[in-house]
Amino acid sequence: MSAVAHGAGAPAAPAGPDTATRGKFLPYLLLLPGALWLLIFFVVPLAQLFTVSLQSQFPGYPGYYYRDVNFRNYLDAFTEFAPHFGRSLLFAGLATFFAFALSYPLAYAMAFKAGRWRSLMMICIIAPFFTSFILRTIAWRQILADEGPVAKVLNTLHLLPGGHITETWMAVVAGLTYNFLPFMVLPIYASLERVDPRVLEAGGDLYANGFTTFRTVTLPMSMPGVLAGTLLTFIPAAGDYVNAELLGSDRSTKMVGNVIESQFFKVPGGYPTAAALSFTLMALILALVFVYVRRFGTDELV
């Protein structure tokens, strides 16, 4: 009896472990191309950059290095360029704040009030991507130029202390805000759009007026989008050098990105410093992001 049962069961048995194994390895198989890509084009260069950041110069031979474990590069880079780090974080923080202030109402209007204008608004937000980021930033130079409408109006109203917008931090922050705006709008819009209008009505039905419903229902429900948007704005803005280059001045508005760029490409023997700066910036941003996500992140960050 048991022999019969065993015989009958046998042909089916191998199928079990086989599918189970395939099921177990499939996710890794799917991960493989991406992981390889990351390994070759991200992890390897990163390790390479890290070794560069620890190299020392041959004394008397600018531009020549030898392999070393020289942590002084970090100390030098940080002490010499501390103001640039400060500016990077400050400008990125300001740009993130202004982008948020502009984006939230815009995303809210698109999600709840735009009706048939929604697609048009979406196109307006995405369309600028079709022209070069550099060109658009150069266009801002004209918009903010001394003879341009913005500076003229502010000057006539005596609201512009230095008389200029370009070559000041204001232009850099304006440029950063503008350039990263879509990265703020789109995630916030995506999370607001998923909010069921009935849920907002339930807020009203349960004695919350418009503002309270916003504070206790809408805003918390859009937090994943806000979190994603602020990160997508702050992180690249902190590393950006194009806006400071094109809109800022040579002295007072340089950010870390500009220093890294000039150390790499303009200063002979600047490689280790540039690499050390890059790593310091990365560490700083990682630390800030970690604290930020711990503080504001929720388990709904999906």
């Binding site: 069921d196 009935r198 849920v199 009505e201 339930a202 807020g203 009203g204 039905d205 349960l206 004695y207 919350a208 007026n209 309270t212 206790t216 229902v217 918390p220 429900m221 937090m223 929720t298 709904e300």
Partner: protein, 388 residues
């Protein structure tokens, strides 16, 4: 604006119309729900039940007409100003809050110090205290629905609107919740407006049932009255089922009207007919009709028919028979006799009924829900009827 929230008294809806573009979802609706009563709204899908509730809650403003609680005119006031809470048809729980915080939301907004305790009590009532710490997505549909009930109920509003609040529950739980809701309603004396597709639920729980169709109230009254004497063909078939037939009133016989229906003469009490002359739709409930092998004597109205189908359901037997005009009637016989009448499809039988149970409703523009509208005599389906 505190004035609205303190409003007390009967809920009065006065000639309220709600139009979406040129479509009238609610059409000149007038009704009064006495304070502390249980009012059930029955009607087919899309007839305007939810729209009516939304206007009472303030989530929608009427195109015309006014809504009062007591002497306070609520028309135009905002939802949060009204002493009204809603159990939404789609639950509409706050996905970012725990179940306890969902239920405590209303009390917190009103500044209750013991919001969490109130929430826990309300969750106890719907038998979900063990899930208080979860998020709505971690609950089953029926559990979410009960949270929605708790979230509205915890506020003890002057008027509680329940939009199909028990639809997702299994029969046993639904019966328990019905008892629980009814108990709370009587104890606290809240006004309940309960939308349901389950007519048995409406019948057993409500003091007053209103049947709605195309944005209008077809008929309103106590459940037994509504069942016993429908005022329109729609109600006759939406609440329970009826054997109906269009006929012409040919005369009177004492307190009765005499009508020709499908070649037979039937009698309708004058007091039970909405029309006194011309065309009439005659109706009689299936359980009021008896079935016999031979023509009975001295029982009032009778009609000859052919058996089409016999289904034995235990306590009763349902016969489908074809009458002379070709239409189908339905007859319920209680299985009271030791030996039931042994009938088979094709047998010739006689039906009889006490003419006192017959009723007459207007025949023109008569609408019979869901069932095939037959030329003269028809049997309607019972829409969405629940197994007892």
């Amino acid at each position: 604006m505190a004035g609205f929230r303190e409003a007390q008294g009967d809920l009065r809806i006065e000639s309220v119309t709600k139009a979406f573009a040129d479509f009238k979802a609610v059409d000149d609706l007038t009704l009064t729900v006495p304070r502390g009563s249980f009012f059930a709204l029955l009607g087919p899908s899309g007839c305007g039940k939810t729209t009516t509730l939304r206007m009472v809650a303030g989530l929608e403003q009427p195109t015309s007409g006014r809504i009062f609680i007591g002497n306070t005119d609520l028309t135009g006031s905002r939802p949060y100003e009204r002493p009204v809470n809603t159990v939404f048809q789609s639950y509409a729980l706050f996905p970012h809050l725990t179940i306890r915080d969902n239920v405590a939301f209303g009390p917190k907004r009103r500044g209750a110090k013991d919001a969490a305790r109130l929430a826990d009590e309300a969750l106890e009532l719907v038998q979900l205290p063990h899930l208080a710490g979860r998020k709505p997505t971690q609950l089953s549909g029926g559990q979410q629905q009960r949270v929605a009930v708790a979230r509205a109920l915890v506020n003890r509003p002057e008027v509680l609107l329940l939009d199909e609040p028990l639809g997702a529950l299994d029969l046993k739980l639904r019966r328990q919740m019905q008892v629980e809701l009814k108990r709370i309603q009587t104890e606290v004396g809240l006004t309940f407006i309960h939308v349901t597709h389950d007519q048995e639920e409406a019948m057993t729980m409500a003091d007053t049932v209103a049947v709605m169709n195309h944005g209008r109230i077809e008929q309103m009254g106590a459940p037994a009255r509504l069942y016993d004497l429908p005022a329109t063909a729609f109600v006759a078939n939406f609440v329970g089922q009826s054997n109906l037939g269009v006929g012409t009133i040919s005369g009177t016989d004492g307190d009765f009207l005499v009508a020709e229906v499908g070649g037979s003469k039937v009698k309708i009490p004058k007091a039970r007919s909405q029309v006194q002359q011309g065309h009439v739709m005659f109706g009689v409930r299936p359980e009021k009709v008896r079935i016999h092998r031979d023509r009975p004597t001295g029982v009032g109205s009778d009609m000859q028919a052919t058996v089409r189908d016999v289904s034995f359901t235990g306590v009763a037997t349902q016969y489908l028979v074809t009458v002379a005009s070709g239409a189908t009637w339905s007859v319920y016989e209680q299985n009271l006799d030791v030996e039931p009448i042994d009938l088979h499809p094709g047998d010739q039988v006689w039906m009889s009924w006490d003419p006192g149970h017959a009723f007459g409703v207007p025949s023109d523009g008569a609408e019979v829900p869901d069932g095939p509208v037959l030329a003269d005599v028809s049997i309607g389906d019972v829409p969405l009827q629940d197994a007892p």
